[in-house]
């Protein structure tokens, strides 16, 4: 096991498996997704905000309304509120680290730079020991890595994060497994780079309702995608992962 602090201070060589253009294209698509979601969320908020104010106001300050009118207004207010609750895009889970400046670890997966909040990480294990594959498992499940902390189920991060650009040759260059805090899962990666400090404003946050719930957002300044590894671990640990695996 590698000490995280020590590991973060040195930059490890990264093998470039995927042409830069492809990586740029992928990152662009992530950024585009995030921008579209943000625009959609703003649009919906603008559309839905007025009815709440208009309908609720009369109920709060009743100027001696006629009984029937009062009843109508109450019903309208309730309808407006319930409609509002159904249509406003659900706010992603408020996790403490999203609200304040946080440290994140940069690492490389098939040439793509990913960032993960340090609070979500466990340990970094060099891939010296062989990962034991299990038959009958989805292709994104590499197998089991025995560690001092117990057996770690290892995710083929590249295959999960960019399945459409996955090259089987990527599997040969895996060098580390980063375990996820609180889960018996780890992510196989090609290189570990350094830690950076991010402020919430630097991140283009993303709703979790998209097709990539594990993507917390993107950081344009560092040209990287910020992962929500807890969401990722929850996703792959859930029974639904089977269906998800089938659809990938």
């Amino acid at each position: 096991m590698i000490d995280m602090a020590q590991e973060m201070t040195k930059s490890l060589p990264v093998q470039q498996f995927v042409p830069e253009q492809t990586i740029q294209c992928y990152l662009d698509s992530l950024l585009q997704d995030a921008a579209q979601e943000l625009a959609l969320a703003e649009q919906q908020t603008q559309e839905l905000a007025p009815p709440v104010q208009l309908e609720v106001a009369p109920v709060v300050v009743p100027a001696e309304p006629e009984p029937e009118l009062e009843q109508e207004l109450l019903v309208e207010a309730e309808v407006a509120l319930s409609t509002d609750a159904e249509h406003v895009p659900p706010v992603f889970e408020q996790v403490a680290w999203r609200e304040e400046p946080f440290e994140a670890l940069l690492f490389d997966v098939g040439g793509l730079t990913l960032a993960v909040p340090l609070v979500s990480l466990g340990s970094i294990y060099p891939l010296e020991d062989e990962i034991t594959p299990l038959f009958g498992q989805p292709d994104w499940f590499l197998g089991i890595l025995p560690t001092q902390a117990g057996n770690l189920k290892v995710l083929d991060t590249a295959r999960w994060v960019m399945p459409e650009r996955y090259d089987p040759a990527l599997r040969d260059g895996l060098r580390f497994v980063i375990s996820v805090q609180g889960y018996d899962w780890g992510m196989a990666v090609h290189g570990v780079s350094k830690s950076i400090r991010l402020t919430p404003e630097q991140v283009k946050w993303r709703s979790q309702q998209g097709k990539r719930p594990w993507l917390a957002g993107t950081v344009i300044e560092h040209m990287c995608a910020l992962l929500d590894v807890s969401a990722l671990a929850t996703l792959i640990s859930a029974p639904g992962a089977r269906a998800l695996a089938n659809s990938r």
Binding site: T132, L134, F135, G136, G150, N151, K153, P239, A245
Partner: protein, 159 residues
Amino acid sequence: MKNTAAQGAEDPILQWVTFRLDNETYGINVMQVQEVLRHTEIAPVPGAPAYVLGIINLRGNVVTVIDTRQRFGLGSAPITDNTRIVIIEADKQVVGILVDSVAEVVYLRQSEIETAPNVGTDESAKFIQGVCNKNNELLILVDLEKMMTEDEWAELQGF
């Protein structure tokens, strides 16, 4: 003494016969293993399912031999001096399973066995009863009963 006995009841020690397939080590419950044979001529059975290699004559009894590699979704491998046929009893039938080699008998406490990951999409994932670290090696424990479906076990009786 009482404590030891109580501990044994709560956390029984189980014996597993380990064998190798495609460089991985698998374990099967020793109580289901009848004997281990060196590779012998396996007579193919026309029309048999793909997972049936054929039949052998075991002291006058016909025993069906299952292609374990095929069953586990692994590629085929040449027969070597280490190849063995493990005669097992599962689903009230005696069958043979062809393996690359047989390693040893290991003792595992029930508590040492971890459940297998529940992400498998393939039918064969159901065979995995659990995993366990032993001698710096990961053992994959196989549930022989689940190696075949009920229909397949019934089909085997026809040979």
